[in-house]
Symmetry: D2
Subunit: 305 residues, 4 copies
């Protein structure tokens, strides 16, 4: 492939909501709802979407379902917005295969989670080799996906910096929340490697050390507020940026670390999108937690649109 | 299904090697080697086999490959030996589907690993619900697979005891190595629930608190010695049992926690079976480690047969 | 000092209860109660005692108080029973000084916990150097104290084996519960190094891989039953040993990992010894937990004597 | 005591270097060097100092030594700069006693580390009770010290918010580096509770969510640069702030998480202050690491003054 400058290549500046995969009551794919949710989100100032991320319950889907989801999403996403496809698998060969399929469907980049099952064998060398192999074979650029809360693997800044030398590895979504490490990656890679905050809980701190934006569930239910944080930060209005970031922390926690995808889907239902059920073994949030969730949304002015 | 007494049902007393999945040089399945390895192992006093366990690189295989492996294995395993199939997936519905397929192929029991991706949501209730749902749908008995080193999830004794009340959940393979927890499970479940040591490093200690035997890589390369531990223990010859257990600790570590599946396969090659390559991102052990491995095998009298 | 053979030196075969430090209602030392508790325990078949261990709340005591406790204990412990003194501090120089003081008071050995505050700097080399320095200066033999639940440091088998080469380092109390590691230590050190189980939850499994006995809270409230486990094990009566070990697991958990020193002291009060209050910030167990504790004691036939 | 508004009380806005305790070659206190180091640091725009923090090797010192260090420091610190004294101990009563002694010597506030030995018993309630008890007895305001890398205890935002309601608990030094938690604390406590970054690795991100400044080793060797970060941030010049923060990350890591107090002392020696030896079991950095450290200092323009 033709390795251009990473910045020319594709810009990750901005917000990329990780879109949930909607299911019907029988746990089957509900693709019309996916289309409608995206049509709704297209009204906001978003740079693109992550399809088949953790909030997309990608580990719950068969390959056939993944293809259907990507096809539906691509049709609903305007060509001027990016579709980033989560295509990481435990084996390198499956990851390559799925990445090529996603590219064929029109994904603009692939988000590759760290393989994690054989944790003790996942040395820095082994992980670097995996990413370089995928990058070599992929027709689209690769974004590293560091998600220690789910994988138990936390890439070091040094490992990321080594991967970043490959021209087809253009950035990282870091959900670990270690801002010092983000600064280390920034220091080690320079401005040619694109860092994205992996959660709305630390968007502003991540921007402060050089992140371009974020991939975060919060951007699904509060896209305007997330965008405002970016703008206040750019303008150097650090007090307004701080106020808004601090205000959104409990909202973000509610739909991520605290109650997870089931709460994100419940919040979408509440706000007039389609959230719907999660797939087993994930369980819906209880009625009691649902009321707490609604209270948090209202208290922080997250409104139906 | 017809819920009989667990002991009548199926006895897990004895040894169950977790059989590696052989690949050719191009990473494709090498099923003839699987057949030959099993034919060799059939000569030993083993109660059965685990197919598609962690040592079987099950997370690296497509569903189609899993079916092929199970079919080949069943044909090579005599009917008086048990075939336990690893059929756990991240979603409950996939786990049920694969378990039914395995039952159709002739698996005698299914080894179900804890789903683990959404760790924060994997509460005791969520996990119990998953296992009960699989147990309800499965035509064959279920064995819980607790593997914290790979999943980051470590079932509590209380959670296991709740699951154990289901008549179709007959035992646990516990690879965590927390012997106190094994004793707690024994205390809470009584003699009707079958505990298997998940590693040869703690076979004897596990027996001391009531385990029936073990599922362990060590039984592939040292089946006679593992069997001897069982016999010394049964006879109350604790000094000989201790001597042998202590002697085997470095051998066991070499092919498990220390160097993993790549070393187990290298040891098989060394001992005249077919180990062959692992699938990427797993990497073969280096030449230097290979020599250390051989030295450990020789020093501890693990011999070609 | 005169470095004799470790076995001649001092034998750790048997049981060593870690004796709590009694306080009056105002949190001051209640030394008469310490004397009375020891007088009571002297009636049992115990090899000796640990004074100023974790159950002795050693981190809560000033140096002056430690000296008082050791003096009182030595006077109450017959000369044919060993007094092992907990003398580990964060600095090497303080550890040496306190160990010499304890030796002067008549301690037969010193139990030295791993320094742990600067965890990232506590490399194997740093820890080995600490123990060798203490061993060099100490007039009495040293027992390594590995207590990861409190220190966050978990010595590897290799590190312990290196320390064990020093003739004045005669054994280890391992409270980590990793039995495979105990077997590794046994393998690496041979019969000349004495391993003690650090909790009654894994006494029997530890014996199965070569431990000599144990230092455990359980031996304070159930000394006869602990002794019986040792005897059944020695006789090769593995079924009776197993039954008793499994039976004692919840009792042991209640006074250690589950509810800690406050529960151990409450159990002592219940059984006719003096437990009394703990020192702040430790809090007494609630009335509700007290009732659960009593029920566990009664259900498992732990009786007043 | 007279509970005024926290902001009137004492302002923690700015930088507070945690001053190392100098030792002579024989590990004895070298108080003249302490005085000289402080005299040097008084030339910079610092709000005050932490004496007897983790970098002060407080766990290595006897109570008598702690008093000597505080007396020497107070004499060397001008009255318009704050002396914050690390007075936390494992027991509540010792913590209270040492805090009163420090107040008598002229400490303006006490930095109280979480007690941590009995980790399993250190519930939120137990920790809150400890801090409230110390706050009640202390003549000077209390600053919570959260240091998970050393204590293994990581206070939750909710626990801190509960403590923050006490008027004598005025702030927190958080060394955990979890910026999302800092934002949660900010959200929960509002502007009346003062948050300090506990490491120079995340000073700027911490400021972005409302921290007032920091207690950090970096401020000893690069006080001007740290001060510049504060100023760029206040002015909204986020690009310059980012550049400087990112530049300082490897310097900060070198004297904290990577090589610890021994490296901080070596850096002080290199820069013309007195660092000197650490106390055993801490070990000096090797000659090789020393050269790496010097190279990092030079590369990032940390210069002798």
């Amino acid at each position: 492939m033709n390795h251009k400058n990473k910045d020319d290549y594709i810009s990750l500046r901005g917000l990329f909501p990780p879109v949930p995969t909607p299911f019907a009551g029988n746990e089957k794919l509900a693709l019309t709802h996916l289309k409608n949710n995206l049509t709704h989100l297209n009204n906001f100032d978003l740079q693109g979407y992550v399809i088949l991320g953790s909030n997309g319950e990608f580990v719950m889907l068969t390959e056939k379902e993944k293809i259907e989801v990507l096809n539906t999403a691509r049709a609903a996403i305007p060509s001027d917005k990016l579709m980033i496809a989560g295509t990481g698998c435990q084996s390198t060969q499956e990851t390559v295969r799925l990445t090529k399929l996603a590219a064929g469907i029109g994904a603009n980049a692939a988000l590759i989670i760290t393989p994690s099952y054989y944790k003790r064998q996942m040395s820095s060398d082994v992980l670097i080799n995996h990413y370089l192999e995928v990058a070599k074979e992929s027709p689209i650029p690769i974004i590293i996906y560091n998600m220690p809360a789910c994988t138990g693997i936390d890439l070091t800044a040094e490992t990321v910096a080594t991967m970043a030398k490959n021209p087809n590895i253009i950035g990282i979504k870091d959900s670990g929340g270690n801002i010092t490490k983000m600064a280390e990656i920034m220091r080690a890679t320079g401005s040619n490697f694109q860092i994205l905050a992996g959660s709305g809980g630390f968007l502003l701190p991540a921007l402060s050390v050089g992140a371009r934006g974020g991939v975060m569930a919060l951007a699904i239910i509060a896209p305007d507020q997330c965008q405002q944080i970016l703008e206040y930060f750019q303008k150097g209005d650090h007090q307004k940026a701080q106020n808004l970031q601090v205000k959104l922390v409990p909202v973000n926690a509610a739909v991520t670390s605290r109650w997870g995808v089931p709460a994100l889907k419940a919040a979408m239902d509440y706000l007039g999108m389609y959230g719907g059920p999660v797939r087993l073994p994930l369980a819906p949030i209880s009625e009691e937690i649902k009321q707490q969730l609604y209270a948090i949304l209202e208290e922080n002015e997250i409104k139906k649109v």
